[in-house]
Symmetry: D2
Subunit: 139 residues, 4 copies
């Protein structure tokens, strides 16, 4: 199963060179991440945070930017998971425009209790959801 969120490059997303200001790619990734919880895990991201007090801080990011994006571009952001540990996991985000890969990120995420800001095991429900979008083979 793939988790894909379609987005648009907005008027305010570009920089002085007329292409997407690269920090905003991380917004696109994060929107896909937020939607994952409601759509795949069945718990909206905000409920998980504020009721269950489960948080997922980003601890490591590796990103390749290949094709610059411009205002008006329609993109698909695909999220898959390549590794699931006890309390952290690695997810991959691919940004596609017209089916062409424009950027790709691997993001390592920890799991914490937000009140204590301490690592906790990934709760079963979210672990099962992460398994659903696990890649068959590494890429």
């Amino acid at each position: 199963m793939k988790h894909v969120v379609s987005q648009h490059v907005r008027f305010g997303d570009v920089d002085g060179a007329g292409i997407v200001y690269y920090p905003r790619f991380f917004n696109y990734f994060h929107v896909a991440f937020e939607e994952f919880f409601g759509r795949v895990a069945g718990v909206p991201y905000d409920q998980m945070l504020y009721k269950e007090r489960v948080g997922f801080p980003t601890v490591h990011v590796e990103t390749d930017f290949g094709v610059p994006l411009r205002h008006g571009d329609a993109i698909d952001v695909e999220m898959t998971v390549s590794r699931i540990g006890k309390s952290s996991f690695v997810s991959t985000y691919r940004v596609l425009r017209g089916g062409k890969l424009c950027a790709r990120a691997e993001i390592t995420t920890a799991t914490v209790n937000l009140d204590r800001m301490e690592a906790i095991p990934i709760p079963d429900r979210y672990r099962a959801a992460l398994e659903k979008i696990r890649e068959d083979t590494s890429s």
Copy 2:
């Protein structure tokens, strides 16, 4: 007394038309507002929020945009106060580039206790600081 904060238009502040994306003017205003607390009131904005639990939500905004700004522009954001009520006040922000007025905003701000999100009187210390940057005459 005038409270002025010098800022730069950053590479990521512009839009697809090559000028500052207008929502980002409100960031420039807010940076001046944040600095007001540490510099004029003697209490850093974050301390006031998190220790005193005093917050200043924005309730009304009126803004005129006259001259478009571009990446690299050096601007001065002047903050003055035109009206101080029991629990709200009106502040004015002028964005100047090379002394020329480019944008002007009047912003009405309430005062609340952040735990209860209820209106409270402006605490004396902040009222005194607002008086320091009060305009002599309306403009």
Copy 3:
């Protein structure tokens, strides 16, 4: 006819007080504005800008913020038009959460040729689209 764009308050949209950082309301308004061109006028906003070189700089903003929004809130942003002049118009944005009005803005927009940055009459196609979402009575 009403033009309505449903949006979500994102994880990164809030501020240190836990509510939407008010400058980001203007992003919500602008997303509705951008979508208006593709959906109502039949010309995507980016095509109008980059092919026709027609731009719509914001010249005046009046906004009331009534109800604070929080991460996870589902909102509808309604755009209507209250006044259409020769080369400028006034549009109104209402932010509703569960049908309840949370914020309301009136935004005056000029029409320019982006190459010369000079005022031009509103092109007929866009004027007709603005008429489609004109309010019956002022509110």
Copy 4:
């Protein structure tokens, strides 16, 4: 020589968990990058872009986030360079709060002519400036 830019975590920089929304770290890095041109190379970033038509798109990013930052934190962003090639270079950004390392990024940057969006050799002036902040040893 070190290139260091002091910054503040702003009210609008945090997320629903009350810590800096991680995409905004890339703004902090980019502000240091922009300042490098004016301060170390002697050519303001905007002049280089718009007059010389030299651009520096980001092609690869690796970042470790160690310590979460909060609104009000005063940070130093240190920029050094670890590798300088013919038309690309690798710079390192360290975010320090009270001398403690909170985040660290390695960013690979290409050099292009902005009109043709084609790779060009790093111009001598900027190569010399990059050499000035080159690390003595890899870290």
